[in-house]
């Protein structure tokens, strides 16, 4: 839902991420094609495979909302212009709701 998302070249390693439609929690697509709330398990895709994965995700409206490409390194670490935002999504910095 970021207002401007970077356009990534086909060869750039990327992950597919979005929000679980039922809960709104951030999710990432694994290499096996499942959705996970654990960003360390995200799958890394490039080229036509990446496009196919995103196209498939876009057809799962009831499961995932607004899926998009997120730039990562070849070994799956968050990188690129949106590193700060995506790192926050992957690992919230605050201990939310720690009050009780």
């Amino acid at each position: 839902m970021s207002s401007v998302r970077p356009r990534l070249k086909p060869e750039t390693p990327k992950a597919v991420t979005g929000w679980a439609t039922a809960t709104g929690l951030s999710v990432w697509l694994t290499a096996e094609g499942a959705w996970t709330q654990d960003a360390s398990r995200l799958g890394v895709f490039t080229g036509d495979e990446a496009e196919a994965r995103l196209a498939a995700a876009l057809k799962q409206e009831g499961v995932v909302t607004d899926p998009y490409f997120m730039e990562v390194t070849a070994d799956g670490r968050i990188s690129g212009r949106e590193t700060l935002r995506e790192s926050m999504r992957a690992e919230p910095a605050l201990s939310f709701g720690g009050g009780e």
Partner: protein
């Protein structure tokens, strides 16, 4: 407070049922996100960085104990145990699952609450002085007029799809605690020759293009105010920019037309309203709404309470709290209590479910069942007897709500920032907490006196950084968070916009820089009674700027 009639109750119930159907269709995939988004926004549901966020309306910031307890229950059962009170005097839940939201809305409807018009390009929650009905300096209780405006603006068919969102604030006190001059419309209730009327300000706002509102009419008689508001809205609806969302707020229209031309158009529109089209609010209807806001039956008491004085003598922390967090009441022997939601180290404006329950209990036992949310993100108990203050403080302190910092430097207005918000460029909460730590000594903070720091995580200015005495604005420079510092803003009757004083600072450098500015103020103030903002205005920005950027 206002109570729903049968029509209100039915409308809200039907709205919940309608949204339940929409959610079911979304979860089944029948409704696409692009189709669903405008529907969820009309019900206060956003999709944020980590989860859905539900924003619930608290009209003019007034809550009953029953309502606050229901919010506490929602926090526990559907969120992560807490809620976040906002500058629009509303509450947000940051972790509610979409599948649960219809149930949440149903629970809210049971206690006469909803999330309607808390988002979208419509007229949002009308805000007001959080001391309304208790403040010594008000000409009348403004809540009745807020309620009248709420009824007029809710589901108003002409103003459901405005060029952009629209915010109205109302005050009836000389000292503006509702920030009316930085609202799309700010109304100041006045009496003139025995008649009640409204001083009307239009075109204020913050965001990327901040403006102080223009005085459009010094006195609109009360019977005509809704017609006058319609004229304001119609000119905006007709000519407000719909081609560019960044230029769509009414402040841009007023600025581009010029104040004189804008006023001419409003007056022309007002004059052109046909007799049958005039609302001409009957006095009987105004009186009927006012009756909902009748003050509690407070029998005046001695102005000095022996119980209170003894407790103050026995407990310095309590004595400090009474010096800082109380506000004079119009009835002798009573005060208004600010319950600070800014304890050191906690996200500003957050309250846990347990804390909400504590405040609800105190309101019921000691506060005549009246609770307010302030635009500074605190809770208020408007009517508390002096004799009861020791018990109130003890309960608050035990719940972690005993901070003595109302309007002090650690009582910051802070937006959720990049910890929650999709629009943010930088985090707000961690930098606010780091600044708080520097001023955590209550004696030091009390010595500094009244000083407002407002923090926003992006140019949209939800943390009101433009009108903080010290404003902090987070920006993203190539993936790194920097913070620009503004000086000289204020949101009261002398409203002014702060000025960015120089290059942005790294997050780690902000607390020390703020500390240097504050120490410069303490060294230069004419007396301890001279507030930070007054010293700044007396000396000018240059020397404060030098202090800010001095080598640490």
């Amino acid at each position: 407070m206002y109570r729903y009639d049968q029509f209100d109750a039915r409308i809200v119930r039907e709205r919940v049922a309608q949204f339940r159907g929409q959610v079911a269709r979304r979860l089944s995939g029948e409704l696409l996100e692009d189709e669903f988004k405008p529907l969820r926004l009309q019900n206060g549901v956003y999709l944020q960085l980590h989860a859905y966020m539900l924003r619930i309306a608290i009209p003019y910031g007034q809550l009953s104990p029953v309502q606050l307890r229901r919010l506490a229950e929602i926090a526990r059962d559907y969120d992560r145990g807490f809620g976040h009170f906002t500058t629009r005097q509303n509450i947000q839940f940051n972790w509610v699952a979409l599948k649960d939201i219809p149930d949440v809305l149903e629970k809210l409807a049971e206690v006469e609450m909803h999330a309607i018009q808390t988002s979208g390009n419509c007229i949002r929650n009308t805000t007001t002085d959080h001391f309304a009905g208790a403040a010594q300096d008000e000409v009348l209780d403004p809540r009745a007029w807020c309620e009248i405006i709420r009824q007029w603006s809710t589901f108003h068919p002409e103003f459901a799809f405005l060029p952009r969102k629209f915010k109205i604030a109302v005050t009836a006190a000389e000292h503006d605690r509702a920030a009316i001059r930085v609202h799309d419309v700010g109304l100041h209730i006045r009496r003139k020759d025995g008649q009640v009327g409204f001083e009307v300000h239009v075109g204020g706002g913050q965001g990327r293009t901040p403006h102080i509102a223009a005085l459009v009419n010094p006195f609109v008689p009360e019977a005509q105010i809704l017609d006058y508001l319609e004229a304001i809205m119609r000119v905006y609806n007709r000519y407000g920019r719909r081609d560019n969302k960044y230029k769509a707020r009414i402040k841009i229209l007023v600025s581009e037309l010029g104040e004189a031309e804008y006023i001419r158009q409003v007056e022309e529109e007002f004059a052109a309203q046909r007799p049958g089209e005039k609302i001409n609010l009957p006095a009987s209807e105004v009186a009927r709404i006012h009756a909902y806001f009748a003050p509690p039956d407070l029998a005046p008491k001695p102005a000095v309470s022996k119980t209170l004085e003894a407790a103050k003598a026995a407990d310095p922390a309590f004595a400090r709290w009474t010096r800082v967090n109380l506000h004079p009441h119009k009835v002798a022997g009573f005060v208004t209590v600010t319950v600070s939601l800014k304890p050191i180290g906690a996200a500003p404006g957050d309250a846990t479910g347990t804390q909400m329950d504590v405040v609800a209990d105190l309101a019921e036992k000691y506060g005549y069942g009246d609770i307010r949310v302030s635009h500074a993100q605190n809770l208020i108990l408007p009517h508390v007897a002096l004799d009861d203050l020791p018990a109130v403080y003890a309960a608050l302190d035990a719940a972690g709500l005993g901070a003595a910092n109302e309007s002090r430097i650690t009582d910051m207005i802070v937006c959720p920032g990049l910890d929650y918000c999709n629009l943010a460029n930088a985090r707000s909460i961690p930098v606010a907490l780091a600044v708080q730590k520097v001023f955590a000594d209550p004696a030091y903070e009390e010595d500094i006196g009244k000083l407002h720091i407002n923090v926003s995580g992006c140019i949209n200015a939800c943390g009101h950084h433009h009108v903080g005495h010290i404003g902090i604005l987070g920006v993203d420079k190539k993936g790194e968070e920097f913070y620009q510092i503004l000086l000289g803003g204020r949101a009261d009757e002398k409203a002014a916009l702060g000025e960015i004083v120089g290059p942005g600072l790294k997050a780690d450098d902000v607390p020390a820089a703020i500390h240097r500015v504050v120490e410069f103020y303490r060294a230069e103030r004419a007396s301890p009674a001279e507030k930070f903002i007054d010293t700044l205005e007396r000396l000018g920005h240059q020397r404060f700027q030098e202090a800010l950027y001095a080598a640490g």
